[in-house]
């Protein structure tokens, strides 16, 4: 790993200043960024740790639903979101292993937008709002393809606000070696309709399965999915699964999520 200058601001304002500099990059839990830096795939000149910013940590109920600070580790979400949004807490509790959950954060995961990550599906299925140091971004505008988001230079996530659904569930088919989702589906039922977000399937990263949303909005039951087909032509193909295999998983996992919600 190349060396860098390490800074650890204690407010969002200070972090904004530090990240405006050339070659500066945000560090949260480091569970993705450190391995990337070790491989020299990233070599920031300055690393700005967001772990010392109290206003970016914690879980609380507010106008936008459940507000979670971007620097909140998965283990804290698993515990503190449980009473308000159990499906989201369960998702956090299924990420990686306990040591990863004690360190990895909501903001780091959603900023990274790994095509097999769990949180992006919760953000998209909840129609959450991604709050940054500069603006608020609707989930539907935020995710722009694998490892690509609406975040601009110097912009970082400060919190995410999740509208709380009537019912929801996330079902993940584990990839046992990486502990990521081979494929995962988040289903959330709101008063104005159902949202279904799929991770670990498409080469474009997380996406909404709109046909299932329409069917489930009319009839929230696994049976409502039976006539639907999943277009897997642009799905991920790797040694763990073919596009057709993932396409089938999407349907199976959506049905399981509906049953579990």
């Amino acid at each position: 790993m190349y060396d860098f200058e390490f800074v650890k601001p204690s407010t969002i304002a200070e972090a904004t200043k530090a990240l405006a500099g050339d070659g500066a990059q945000a560090l949260s839990g480091g569970q993705t960024l450190l391995p990337t830096m070790k491989q020299r795939l990233a070599a920031p000149g300055t690393l700005v740790s967001l772990n010392g910013i109290a206003e970016m940590k914690g879980v609380c109920k507010g106008d936008g639903g459940l507000h979670i600070g971007a620097a909140t580790p998965h283990a804290v979400v698993a515990k503190e979101a449980a009473a308000h949004y159990p499906a989201l807490a369960a998702l956090a509790n299924g990420i990686g292993d306990p040591a990863v959950r004690n360190r990895g954060t909501l903001g780091g995961s959603v900023a990274n937008n790994d095509p097999a990550a769990c949180y992006p599906s919760a953000v998209l299925a909840s129609g959450a709002t991604v709050v940054t140091n500069k603006r608020k971004i609707a989930a539907d505008d935020y995710f722009q393809g694998m490892f690509t988001t609406a975040l601009e230079e110097g912009e970082f996530i400060t919190e995410i606000a999740f509208p709380i659904p009537q019912k929801a569930a996330y079902v993940k088919f584990n990839q046992p070696a990486s502990r990521f989702a081979l494929t995962g589906v988040f289903v959330a039922k709101y008063a104005d309709g159902v949202r279904v977000a799929v991770t670990g399937a498409s080469n474009d990263g997380v996406f909404r399965w709109k046909e299932a949303e329409a069917a489930l909005s009319k009839d929230f039951s696994a049976a409502a999915l039976s006539g639907l087909t999943v277009d897997s032509s642009d799905f991920i193909h790797d040694l763990h699964g073919t596009p057709a295999y993932r396409g089938n998983l999407v349907k199976v996992l959506t049905a399981r999520a509906v049953a579990a919600a």
């Binding site: 560090l27 480091g30 391995p35 740790s49 292993d97 502990r179």
Partner: protein
């Protein structure tokens, strides 16, 4: 170079670090606490697990400067005050929870973190919690037995599988 101070195993310590110095390197090279093992260096194997402010974390995937001032506990801090093995360590010895011993420091630290959160875990909970700790020798059964024994539960009924 920046001097980083932490409380490690109850003692205030400091060592010089670069920005890129990992917590595992700070402990091993900076302080000579080589009980913390580095197996994969890619946050997969769990050999390097230590406690930071009471939570199990992978020390190969944390920068030392990011945890300046923290309370850190390593395998060297797991023995009793008189130098005898701590409860979890003793259970690993009694139940043959190790063979080569490479994974053991991380296993013991993860197990201790589990027992602090959940003093009487079920067998399934132990297996689930140790998901991030890889052992190439034991086949895990004796590790699971050791953790259950350390929790004070009767392990006679657990089959060797």
């Amino acid at each position: 170079m920046t001097k980083v101070t932490m409380v490690v195993n109850g003692k205030s310590v400091s060592a010089e670090t670069e920005g890129r110095t990992l917590l595992s390197g700070y402990l091993r090279e900076g302080l000579g606490l080589t009980g913390t093992h580095v197996g994969c260096d890619t946050s997969q194997c769990g050999a390097c697990v230590v406690h930071v402010n009471g939570k199990a974390v992978k020390s190969c995937t944390i920068f030392a400067q990011d945890v300046a001032g923290a309370e850190v506990r390593t395998i060297e801090g797991m023995a009793n005050a008189d130098g005898s093995l701590g409860v979890v360590q003793q259970a690993f010895q009694d139940h043959h929870g190790l063979q080569c011993g490479f994974c053991t420091p991380g296993m013991v630290m993860s197990s201790a973190a589990l027992l602090a959160e959940n003093p009487k875990p079920t067998e399934a909970e132990v297996r689930h919690y140790l998901e991030g700790n890889i052992c190439r020798c034991t086949g895990y059964h004796n590790i699971v037995k050791a953790v259950l024994a350390a929790s004070g539960q009767d392990i006679a009924a657990i089959p060797a599988e």
